[in-house]
Symmetry: D2
Subunit: 335 residues, 4 copies
């Protein structure tokens, strides 16, 4: 059984079905009927008028958002372990035309207000330094931890007081919402998020993510549409991306999938409470694991990544059932 | 009946089926089994060892290729009517980091050797001007015309004599091959093409195109992989792109689809030989059409684009059957 | 005697003297006393509150201005023969991060309203095309012709009606003002120019040009300061640039120099009225000249550039006296 | 007396004289006689065939070098306190088109082999991360410390073993050479440096720095010339930059100036051995200084920058004589 990454999981059947259902002639790019319904569908989900734009990767969603929020000569604060820093081969630098990522520290890949203030204080207000334009946080974090609404609010307050924007990399936004058991609005615009990369691919989608623009940030939509086209991300048959997103929203498939993945992680975490490196709040579990222990688990058929020395990462997916995961939990408990 | 664009057509059933067949856990990005088979499959098709990389749009394929072939301070020759100049919102400039498109003239959006020599002569060999690094031609052209192998060979010879590379935008490569009734190799590497954007989306695909690197250009593959990731074009579930491409190649679906679309265009063209602005060699037909005539066709239920003053463009698709098109042909003939 | 380019001329003595006079300790970058006086000095010259920023090349001035006026996904109209298109190795594309130059036609490298309207009409209002953000004109033009105030006003009216900005490449602004015998304001902000590259180097300066921001465009000053630093153009001993500019303004040295250069061109032009390709309104003279004639002039010790087939360019400089030029005029008249 | 920065110092008289001596007509850009002599002059200085290119700022020299040594999708290792990271407003990111600076730690802003190995190990060899292309070190460092030849050699060996290039930011290269009392070659190409930004402006120059390309890196010269032009750094009257550089080399003015500045720093450092934060090896002295002490020094007429809490930086210049500095040394000693 594979616990490498939720990227490797299959696609939810309703998403595949939606592709088949969309399979007729329609207008190209995003002028088709499905794409045109996205704003309304996401506005309903978020209980606010939002602008929703499809793209095919989370990297594109993040980079396009940051390019709209920070000038080439600006800086973007993110965690040292952020996906945008470590796993996107410089897509933020590419799309922003050379903005700098300013790296913060924090337990579990989460940033706290004091760290933001420290970073802000490190930048002199002169032309020799790249002034901060945005903060990007990841929800759930790269270490499977979840920001509480008041934590996001505190960060957003700093941002807006300083004239910055707040971007949320929500590759696992669904897992965070499932964990918090709150309304999507409660952990996004209501607590000050300006733009959200709403992830679907790790959560049962195939090739569609949504950029969600809240409030005043919606004014950036036109600019982002040009940047999206220019980045080669305006698919000519965009309706097949819109169809995926609509399928994810229908009957809250996105939440059901995230709950399933989170439940899997909880099974593993509960089997190894003393090994947990971070609380397992979403669908990732980081545990201490010696090389011998890792080898024995692998010998038993479990695949996963080592994470530094003496630690390992297990990622659960929407499509793993309890019976798929129990053997791993038992094996870890038995170590 | 819609004749706006082949972009608006549906997806071939085997392509959709391939998505369903690929729907199981596999390694992320392009390390899955299907993606790993692309090189072999395209090498067989092209009778040569090629490197094949999936991307989700033709714009991305073109821009990534050009970025690998021309430095930021270089120029790329293309036709004034080229898609890369007029319809990609500057993707080539974005991915090359600011290279300049040097625009040539030529009947039917085709470039001929004399024009290339004229443009080459227009650039002084000094640091004040952006030296030419590549030539990009479109096959079939934006006006539905097809380069013959010896025409491509003549252009390639100039390129290579001058140290440039030759890129072919093959958004409608299939239509060109169908028209030429030749081996794919005969109109690509055998006549000097270095990189090819092998289009699928206009030809029954959903969201997958292939970049094909021939010969020495294969050495650029590693660099392109970084650029692709950086551009946000490395889909995490890449196997669903590979599956589409494999489906297109299976039993030569790509050729069958192109032949169908070309046949449709021929039906229209044959109905209006005196109106043809260009010979209809692929799946696009440009005819003279007065405003009144255009209105009458639209009133009869035919949708298409005006093309400048007194002309109109009809694009046929893989999924339009003879009985779909005959009414249009008859209506035009009856004007 | 050399008539290659005003770039090759020496530096006016008052400019050199100003360097010596500035040679004491002062604050670095542009916080020194001289740099701080530029706004006031240029505001007096232009009879309006302007922002003046030094840079060391006209290319930098032009590119920084355009980067502030046009987004990466936008287009900038200029003449096909514009310096920014042909002689800056893509600096506009570099600083704008890939904006496209949209090339217009017009006699003597000048653009007229009808051509602007034609180019504007050629761009569809959709995300597939790079929308026009600015117009850049050269005063005096690359062919030594001068825009009249009402000509600039007509172009500016189009720009502002469409939401574009108007940039003037004034590498030879002084020569144009000398020809027009008008106030600098009359050919800049009063007729709608938003940003001006105020050239000095071709006019007796050594290494200082001024970017002049008028009216609302002054709001771009902060952004341009960051871009200037980022481009490596914020000299640490900036006072030596400011000193040059102040010397040029003192006692209207800039105008005296330009008048001298223009007078030289007039001497040549008057000697060959039937050979003139363009009216010689500034300090450049383009004449028809056979290869034999050119050879005979060169044999007589006159250096100049051929300009295409059968034409030649003679550029006069601030430091050429009447007695330096009369022999050339006589030699041409005697051909 | 000002100890803010060597940027604020005046220009050496021979440099000014050289401008006057160069003040006649010559060919534009870098085709003049003086510019053409630079390669030979620097080759003699460095006892090796080098290519020397003038630019007007150290920021431009650094950024152009890094752009030639690292692709847009690569990383450049530098110290966390490096000038290229903190004081160039992202010029490296701009000129490289978005490469990432990978920040290392080390006493006195110096990097050691172990830290380089640690950073190298932190980058996975896959397309998701920006692979390291170059190392940039500053000589003398931003904290006034000097790399010994064997220290540079050790870093260069790592670089070249890994296929990276080694760039040296030599804004204060002269001060380092003066401290080491070695041949310039001994601390550059002989110990593996590929490109050097040879600083002059902080050392008595006005507006000229030299990029020095050693050995195989000379093959990048053509590319850099295009990038320099494109960056707006090819001054049309380049001979006035070349003249400055030639004046600095004549009779080893560059060394004499650096020795003078270093001697000044030594005077200060010797007055406060217990306060030194770093050994004062070049022309910068960092000492512990309470707020009260700082205030008393300022009250006595000494200007300098606080450097974090409880520390201060004093920078000496080529033009400060012993009698200028003794009062400061005495005042510090008397604290």
């Amino acid at each position: 059984m594979r616990f490498f990454s939720d990227n490797a999981a299959a696609v939810s059947q309703p998403v595949l079905d939606a592709l088949a259902n969309a399979n007729s002639v329609d207008t190209a790019y995003d002028d088709d009927a499905l794409s045109q319904r996205l704003d309304a569908a996401f506005s309903e989900l978020f209980e606010s008028d939002v602008t929703a734009l499809w793209v095919s990767t989370g990297t594109a969603a993040n980079a396009l958002a940051l390019a709209a929020l920070c000038p080439p000569h600006g800086s973007i604060i993110c965690h040292r372990e952020a996906h945008i820093q470590n796993d996107e081969c410089g897509a933020p630098e590419f799309y922003t035309h050379g903005a700098k990522l300013l790296l913060g520290e924090g337990e579990g890949a989460k940033l706290a207000p004091a760290e933001i203030e420290r970073l802000a204080a490190s930048i002199r207000d002169d032309v020799h330094q790249m002034q901060i334009g945005a903060l990007s946080i990841t929800q759930a974090s790269e270490y499977g931890m979840v920001y509480q609404p008041d934590e996001v609010r505190a960060l957003a307050d700093i941002c807006h007081a300083k004239g910055w924007s707040l971007h949320m990399d929500g590759a696992r936004f669904a897992n965070a919402v499932a964990h918090l058991d709150c309304a999507p609005a409660d952990i996004s615009w209501r607590v000050g998020v300006d733009m959200l990369s709403f992830g679907c691919v790790k959560n049962g989608g195939m090739s569609a993510e949504a950029m969600i623009l809240f409030g005043d940030a919606r004014e950036k939509a036109a600019e982002i549409r040009y940047r999206r086209k220019r980045g080669g991300h305006l698919l000519s048959k965009g309706r097949y991306l819109a169809a995926q997103l609509m399928a994810m929203l229908t009957d809250d498939l996105w939440l059901a999938n995230a709950r399933a993945a989170n439940a899997g992680a909880k099974l593993i975490a509960d089997a190894a409470p003393d090994r947990l490196v971070y609380p397992a709040e979403a669908n990732e579990v980081f545990i201490t694991l010696s090389a011998d222990e890792a080898a024995s688990l692998r010998a038993a058929g479990f695949d996963f990544y080592d994470w530094g020395i003496g630690e390992a990462r297990f990622v659960t997916s929407w499509d793993q059932r309890e019976e798929d995961i129990r053997p791993l939990a038992a094996a870890i408990a038995a170590l």
